[in-house]
């Protein structure tokens, strides 16, 4: 059992899962950025990244019309039929039913943020009700936020119990647990929160970096800390948890660097949308644009690529 509100809770958890050295992590991830991905390998990576994208719109001004446009783009990112559909669209709960009817049988999943996204600051029962509502409306996947307040005050048991409750509320839907790394601040805390979540997740669930609503989102550094936690957990338990960096990944080049990190840390079994996702919106068109560049040898003007989520 995890102690409730113990001052030593953090230290005890770290003792069990091991520490992270920030300088070392940053040196490691800098090496991913020097990899040079060319030709067929680049095309493969770009298409893989498209198929891993959770195309996202999370704004107060979202309307059914916007969702429709997003879903159409998700199903057919570009005129080139060799470009696959994205993994999922990610929307607010109120839009789930509509999104579900838009994606139809295309294979694109509907993910819904829930649990009072992005802050999570409402009653636990309200948060659970939101999850149940989204699943009832047809959400295939639920993106929850952890209780950062409880985590930072050392109440790890509460953090984990709440995740456990959401897992139950999800039923058949896959769960993605957002750690909101910028609010946890240190790599040690990110690793600790990853383990807290994975301890109650099911195979096929995900941990996710951030909401995209704070200043610092996914970086190669926090992605690395989390995929190393996933690897350690998998090597010890055999339970494979997925990973979703979200926010801040805007270019194809960045996406390829994240995939190289996956290839060299978790291996081939994670190079699939079942275990790795990108939470992004403007990334998609850069992936498509770069893959057209690989195919034709020339960059095309931005207006050759349909906009769906990023600029209006």
């Amino acid at each position: 059992m995890l102690p409730r509100k113990s001052l030593a809770a953090h230290a005890r958890l770290l003792d069990e899962i091991g520490a992270v050295d920030q300088v070392g992590v940053e040196e490691r991830v800098a090496k991913f950025t020097t990899r040079s991905i060319k030709k067929a390998a680049k095309l493969w990576g770009l298409r893989m990244a498209v198929s891993m994208t959770d195309l996202t719109t999370l704004e107060g001004k979202d309307t059914p019309g916007k969702i429709e446009s997003l879903c159409t783009k998700a199903i057919r990112p570009h005129d080139d039929p060799s470009i696959p559909h994205v993994a999922a669209v990610c929307v607010y709960p109120s839009m789930v039913r509509h999104a579900k009817s838009c994606v139809g049988a295309s294979g694109v999943k509907v993910a819904s943020v829930a649990t009072a996204f992005p802050s999570g600051q409402t009653h636990y029962r309200t948060r659970l009700a939101e999850v149940r509502g989204a699943v009832a409306d047809g959400a295939d996947e639920v993106d929850m936020v952890i209780n950062r307040g409880a985590f930072l005050s050392g109440d790890f048991a509460r953090v984990q119990d709440e995740i456990s409750g959401v897992v139950e509320a999800c039923g058949p839907a896959a769960l993605k647990v957002i750690l909101e790394v910028s609010e946890l601040e240190t790599f040690d805390s990110i690793r600790a929160a990853s383990f807290l979540a994975m301890g109650v997740l099911r195979p096929g669930d995900f941990i996710k970096t951030s909401t995209g609503k704070t200043t610092l989102n996914a970086t190669l550094g926090n992605n690395q800390v989390m995929i190393e936690a996933i690897r350690d957990f998998y090597m010890d338990t055999g339970i494979a948890i997925g990973m979703k960096p979200a926010g801040g990944i805007r270019t194809a080049k960045q996406a390829l660097q994240f995939l190289i990190a996956v290839k060299e840390t978790l291996g081939d079994a994670w190079l699939t949308p079942k275990r790795y996702r990108f939470g992004a919106s403007s990334l998609l068109n850069d992936l498509v644009r770069q893959s057209e560049r690989e195919r034709t040898g020339a960059y095309q003007a931005p207006y050759y690529f349909s906009e769906a989520a990023e600029s209006y």
Partner: protein
Amino acid sequence: MPARKTTGARRAGLIFGDLWEFDPAPETADPKLKARYDLFIGGKFVRPRSGKYFDSINPANEAKLAEIALAGPSDVDDAYRAAAKAFGPWARLPGAERGKYLFRIARLLQDRAREFAVAETMDGGKPIKESRDFDVPMAAAHFFYHAGWADKLEYVAPGGSVAPLGVVGQVIPWNFPLLMLAWKLAPALAMGNCVVLKPAETTSITALKLAELLQDAGLPPGVVNFVTGAGETGALVMGHPSAAKVAFTGSTEVGKAIMRQLAGTDRKMTMELGGKAANIVFDDAPIDQAVEGIVNGIFFNQGHVCCAGSRLLVHEPVAERVITRLKNRIRVLRVGDPLDKNTDLGAINSRAQLATIRRLVASGVREGATMFQPPCVLPKKGFYFPPTLFTGVTQSHRIAREEIFGPVLSVLTFRTVDEAIEKANNTPYGLSAGVWTDKGSRILRMSTELKAGVVWANTFNRFDPSSPFGGYKESGFGREGGRQGLLDYAKLA
């Protein structure tokens, strides 16, 4: 529970396969090589008096790169004579003026960084990412750093004053040809000495390319002279009666021979020799970052590093965890064409070195250590050796005692701090060591008790021109870099 103990749990393996193969990504800059390189004496390229040349080959594919002049006794005499002639005016030049030349060399090297990086990789076999991101920029950094000292020499020895020694003879190794050259040239020149230097037989090209650059920089003739050749030429440079000081970087065996040769003379010496560094990982270390440091410590430059962390001492409670992660990490190292930007381990420098590595690895297997090599396809031509890990190694194994100078790591375990210190120091060498722990006080204790010139804490193979580098015991004496390094090229008054 948030985490599960390793013991008793189900073990799952990872797949590092061929799902996403990378296409070749060769660096294509022109190294601008000449077909034949002469000796560089008195500011000019001159033919060797014997008329003899030897071939320099690319260890990555065994193709001939260029012909290099073979310097004999009279060529070495010529070089020393040219240096002695240049010494007076060079030493009398105001420090700021000498600094200008050094700044100019540093900037020219930066301007032509890609060209030099490609030449270095073709000549020595190291991966282009290392010559591009480490060797060439660090060489330039050494020239910059010492250029800054040239007009501040009165602060090198506070309370005293310094003067140049005269002509210094220098012999450098093949593992970091350009960088070792910079380590040797920059402090010597900043202090006002003149130089006769012999690069290693297998890696002379970047020195001779630098000679072209010294001409471009307008360095006065004779201040720097390069004589090329093998061991015999090296012995002539080290033993020359006009040398005021000799500086040698290379094997302990050759270092001892030089010391015997110079015993009884008043010539100053600096020796930077072999090593068998201990990289010590405690149970509270950040494991993944330690693994990265271990990999960097032993596989950097194919392990052709005198301060390589070739002995891993790992705390017993975490030994299994560290070794599993280390093996996973080694599986994703890319061995092959050094000019490919994705290559992590390039070619072994020479056929002879490859034979040495093979011989010592065979002794490890014969003496009962367990060998691990990841599956990797090595190019058919050229000299390559896969990254190799030995577990179950004890202090008595040859692979734990002798310098292998290749991508071979010996893993030993320890139980207590005292045992770690004892094992780390139980070697004739003492060049470097690494400590991995979350505990600051332990780092301080280890750095005091480890008999090594450099102790890295939670990192490995980090260098800076301002940080003195050198050894204890049979790893040599004298320092390179920093104020201490400059003092080794000065007469104190």
